[in-house]
C-alpha cells in the first residue's frame, strides 16, 4: 500500500501548518460537525464581506485528513462567492466519491487535488468531507444559500 499516495505532501503540510484556522469576530452562522465513528470534529464559521464574498473561519480536532481538508478548504474558498463555493464543493465531493477514479481539476479545487488518493480508502472519505459538509451547513444557516439537494 502506498502511504505516500494517501498522505501527499500537500496534506501533511496543511496538517502541520493549517491555514485559515481562526475564530471569526462576527460570524453569520457556524456549523459543528462530528464524525461519530472516530470523534473527529470541526466547527466552520462563515460571514460575508461587503461584496457578499465568503469569510471563513474554523476550529477542529481530528486526524490529518480531516484537519488538512479543513485547511485546504478555508484557504481555497476565503473570498470566494457563494456560487463558487458551491461549484468547488461539488467538484471536491465528486472526486471523493469517485473511489479514486477521477481526474480532478486543479484549477477548480486547488490543493484539494491532493485528496484524490484518499478517495480510495472508504473509511477516510468521511474525514475529508467533514469540513466541506460543515461549510455547506453554515452557508445554509447564514442564509447565504438555499437548502437544496447537493451531491453527497
Amino acid at each position: 500500500m502506498d502511504l505516500n499516495g494517501l498522505y501527499q505532501e500537500i496534506i501533511l503540510d496543511h496538517y502541520k501548518h493549517p491555514r485559515g484556522k481562526v475564530v471569526l469576530e462576527a460570524p453569520l452562522a457556524s456549523a459543528h460537525h462530528v464524525n461519530p465513528t472516530c470523534g473527529d470534529e470541526v466547527t466552520v464559521e462563515v460571514a460575508a464581506d461587503d461584496h457578499g464574498h465568503l469569510v471563513i473561519g474554523y476550529q477542529g480536532q481530528g486526524c490529518s485528513i480531516s484537519q488538512a481538508s479543513a485547511s485546504v478548504m478555508a484557504e481555497l474558498l476565503e473570498g470566494a462567492s457563494v456560487d463558487e463555493s458551491v461549484s468547488v464543493r461539488e467538484a471536491f465531493v465528486a472526486m471523493m466519491h469517485s473511489q479514486g477514479n477521477s481526474e480532478p481539476d486543479e484549477d477548480v479545487i486547488g490543493d484539494g487535488v491532493a485528496f484524490a488518493g484518499v478517495a480510495k480508502y472508504p473509511a477516510r472519505v468521511k474525514c475529508a468531507l467533514l469540513p466541506w459538509m460543515a461549510l455547506q451547513d453554515a452557508e445554509i444557516k447564514a442564509g447565504l444559500m438555499a437548502p437544496k439537494e447537493e451531491t453527497r
Binding site: M1, L3, L6, T37, D40, G62, C63, S64, I65
Partner: protein, 427 residues
Amino acid sequence: MNTFDPSRIKLDFPILQRTVRDGQKLVYLDSAATSQKPNSVIQAERDYYETCNAAVHRGAHQLAEEATDAYESARVAIAGFVSAAPSEIVYTKNSTEALNLVAYAFSNATALHRASGNPPQDPRFILTDEHNIVVSEMEHHANLVPWQELCAKTGAQLRWIPLTDDGRLDLASLDSLIDQNTKAVSIVHQSNLLGTINPVVAVMERAHSVGAIGIVDACQSIPHMPVRIRELGADLVVWSGHKMLGPSGIGFLWGESEILDSIPPFITGGSMIEIVQLDHSTYAKAPKRFEAGTQMVSQAIGMHAAVEYLTALGMDAVEAHEHSLTGYALDQLANVSGVTVIGPTENVARGSAISFTVDGLHPHDVGQVLDSRGVAVRVGHHCAWPTCRRFNVPSTTRLSTYIYNDTSDIDAAISGIVAAQEFFGVI
C-alpha cells in the same frame, strides 16, 4: 496438558491465512471488536444449512426436529461453558439487545404498573422519579444509552461510578452512589477500552444490600477467562458470541429463572406466547419468553462449535496465554517514546484490550499506517466516548489479542507505531 501454541491455533482460522494490502501477512489485533472464526465454527453453520435447515420449535417434520435438537443442544453447551442451567440462557441478537431487553423490562414493568387493568408487576422493576440507576464511567455505549433512555422515560436518575486516573473504578463513593433508592446497578466486567477487570462481586454485593438488580456486561471477559456465572454475583449477565469465535448475530442473557420469568417480555410476537386471545396474551417462561419470531439457528449451532473449541483449549490456558501476551505488549509499548497507555499499565486485574495514544499523532493516522503494514487495530472512541473524555483524549488506538496472537504480532504493531512516528516526523 498440551502447550498453548498460537502458531498451530492460527492454522484453524482460514482468514488468518490471507494477505492484505498488497500481499502482506495479516496481523489481526482487533479481537475486542470481533474475533475471527475457526474452521469448525464455519463448518458447523454450513453443515446445518446443508443437512437440517428448518424453523425451530414448530413443524412436524424430521428437519424441524433435527434443527430444534441442534438449537437446544447448543444452549446446553453454552450454558455449560459458564456453569449455568440451559433454561437460564436467553438467545438475543447481540449483547446490546440483551442489555436493552433488561432496560426495557424496567420501562415495560413501570408502564404496565401505571396503566390500569394489568396484572401486578415485579416491584423490583417498577421505577419512579425517586429511584436511580447506577453505571460506571467506563461503560460501552450499549451499557449506557439504554439506561439513559430508561431514565428519560421514567424520571429515574442516572449515576456513574467514577474512575481513578489509572483506569480503575473509584469505589470510595460506592455506598453513597448506590443507596436505598437504587433499582439497578449495571457494570462492565472487563472494559473494552481500558482493559480493566472490575471487582464486580463487590459492586453486586452493594447492589444487593439495597435490593437493587445487579447486571454485569461480560462481553470482554467470558471470551478470555474461565467464568462460572454465579460467581460474578449478578442477577443478570450479558455477553456476545462473535467475540468468542462464534458467528455474528447471536448474544446471550443469563438470568436467574425467578427473575427472567417475572419480568415483562421485550420483543413480542410468535413463539414467545403461552395463550393468545384477540385482546390479550400470556407469555411463555424463559428462555422462550424472550425469543420471539424465527430464531438464529445457524448462529446458535456455530456457537456450539465455538464453545467446544475454547473448552478443548481450556479457558485457564486461554487466560494464562493472554495474560502473558498482555504483559509483553505493555512492556513493549512502555519502551516507545511518546506512547501513553490509557488504562491500567500494571498487568494486574487487566485484560488484553490495550488503548494508547501517540504524541503528535491522531489514532486514525496511526491505524492507517499500521494497516498499510497489514496490522489491523481499532481506532476511535470504541463506543465508550464518555470514557475517552474522562481521560481527555478524543480517541485512542487499541490493540487487542486473542488465542491466535503471539509476541510476533505485538512486535509488528510496535514497529508500525514507530513507522507512523517516523512517517509523520514526530520523532
